[in-house]
């Protein structure tokens, strides 16, 4: 059958009416357009930290504490200040109250000094999830290490297994608690509280599965390392220019 110009306009017109009817239907019922659903399989979260940008203000610690109602004396994130002597001597490390109030002005020394923000490394091969006797702590399909507090026994084997000291027993729930990478935020398209409040953008949430994420350029162009690489945990928090003295 041969299609004339008249036929084309007629079919096109019908399609236009149908499409506009659909749009109107949504408007008439008042239903919001379906949000783009969060698909765990499309993400693989981590963080990049630029040590040179961290000024030790503690904004990240305060933001995390407020956002996640972290009990006093425990930390989902904290900042350490390193002073590194020449040679093989141990570094001098301080973190007063996890740096929730920042750091006091240091006495001037000629030692190399810098700040290191710490948080759960959301390891892909995490020893903490390996040891949990009931699987209450697990790596989510989008790469975040979480704890199911309705299921956790409070045995604290995972606390012992974490090489980075990132876990604690919540004194009220008596279950293990830790950084969730602000899972309640990142699954809504927001960034973490700590990243959002960092005044120098020293820490940035990254999605390794997003080809447009700046993390790819960051990893390509910088010398990066993870904490305690000898632990072989496949940590996903990358530090730029990490000094060998950092533990």
């Amino acid at each position: 059958m041969e299609m004339t110009r008249r036929d084309l306009f007629r079919i096109g017109g019908k399609l236009l009416v149908l499409a506009s009817a659909g749009a109107t239907l949504e408007q008439i019922t008042g239903a919001e357009p379906a949000p783009e659903a969060y698909r765990m399989a499309d993400h693989w979260w981590g963080m990049i930290i630029d040590i040179d940008k961290c000024i030790g203000c503690g904004s990240c610690v305060r933001a995390c504490s407020n956002e996640n109602q972290v009990p006093t004396g425990y930390f989902r994130t904290w900042v350490e200040r390193y002073e590194v002597p020449e040679g093989y001597g141990n570094p001098i490390v301080t973190s007063p109250d996890g740096a929730i109030n920042g750091f006091p002005l240091p006495k001037p020394t000629n030692l190399k000094a810098f700040f290191v923000p710490k948080l759960c490394n959301h390891c892909a091969d995490s020893p903490c999830t390996q040891v949990c006797p009931v699987g209450a702590t697990f790596v989510s399909p989008d790469g975040v290490v979480l704890v199911d507090k309705e299921y956790c026994l409070g045995c604290r084997y995972c606390v012992q297994a974490c090489p980075y000291g990132c876990r604690y027993l919540h004194p009220e729930t008596e279950t293990v608690d830790k950084c969730t990478l602000c899972y309640h935020r990142i699954t809504k398209g927001l960034t973490t509280a700590c990243c959002e409040n960092c005044p120098t953008q020293a820490r940035q949430l990254v999605d390794f599965k997003n080809p447009k994420d700046p993390v790819h350029e960051f990893l390509r162009n910088n010398k990066v390392s993870v904490l305690k690489p000898q632990m072989a945990t496949e940590a996903k928090v990358y530090y730029k220019d990490l000094d060998g003295a950092v533990r």
């Binding site: 425990y74 930390f75 904290w78 350490e80 141990n90 570094p91 001098i92 490390v93 301080t94 973190s95 109250d97 996890g98 710490k118 020893p127 390996q130 040891v131 949990c132 006797p133 009931v134 699987g135 299921y151 956790c152 026994l153 409070g154 045995c155 604290r156 084997y157 606390v159 012992q160 297994a161 974490c162 090489p163 980075y164 000291g165 990132c166 876990r167 604690y168 027993l169 729930t173 008596e174 279950t175 632990m231 533990r247």
Partner: protein, 389 residues
Amino acid sequence: MIPGVDGFMYPNEVELQWSILIVLYPFITGLVAGAFILASLERVFKVEAVKPTYRLALLTALSFLLVAPLPLQLHLGHPERSFEMYLTPHTSSAMAMFGFVYLWYLTVVLLLEIWLDYRADIVRMSQTTTGITRLIYKTLTLGSDNVSPAALRIDDKVGYVITVIGIPSAFMLHGYVGFIFGSIKANPWWSSPLMPVVFLFSAMVSGIAAVLLLYMAAMKIKKLPIDMRCIDTISKYMFYTFVIDFTLEMLDLVHRTYEADESFRSLDFMVHTRLWGSHVLLQIVAGTAVPLILLAATQLRRFSEAARKVIYVIACSLTLIGIFAMRWNVVIGGQLFSKSFLGYTTYKMDLVTREGLLPAIALMLLPFPIFFVLIKLLPPWRHNEASGD
């Protein structure tokens, strides 16, 4: 500056997560495994000299095994969820296997072996006693009152098989406890493939020491003569096991010292400061060197019976203190240093809280009333021994 902290600890490390209750757990399971292995000496390896302690060793193992999970339960933040370990065990977790290993050991090994060994006695008592006692024994027969020679032969054969199965089970029970610690790569004080083996041999030493002491105490209380051949033989086995245990521990120490990896300076400092008393003085000197010298002396020189009894009591008591100190040093010591290797914290033991000293003492004493009830119900001495013949 945080009170009790020297140097730098990661902020969440300041508070210890595993308390004295977790010290009790390997100590108690060690006594169970050790006592059972002593019992198997007679049953499987036909060491006739230790026969007087056979039943006593089994009842000792059962008394302590019944208490073994209690410190863990008390320690959990949510003990009501502990049953989840049976329902949804996480197969990659060493700890998840605890429930299964425990149940296997309790039901298949210990209860069954004790029942088979006592069955003839239970049937006899169900026929000779009256009232509620009769009812208890009648229940304990589980409806099996055939005590014909053929039936007893079957009991004996099955009991033998169970003991044979029981030996690797006892090894598994305690070797596995060692694995819980030894497999934690984040903690260099624990992480060692030798840990399960060290735990196993120290368990055997402590279990043998406990049974030896209990046997001597029971004979004293019952005013029965102590079988010297029996306690000499047990002390000999204890000495040999202790030598292996000490060798393994020294191997671990020498290896760590020689290798001197990144954690060495930190751990070495800890041993010379915070753990000096419990590790060097209690565990190594008082709890290992002294009993080893005493036991070695009894092997090399001929002492009088009275002297040997005193030596055994001192050696066994010191051994138990030393093995307890070893458990303490593993569990508590492993949490006193920072995983940054830059600082140390202090264990502040509460007195009356859930994980405090008093509950720990109560739990440590609890096996004794259980043991008392068990020996009343199931007298470990054979009929002729009990009547003093």
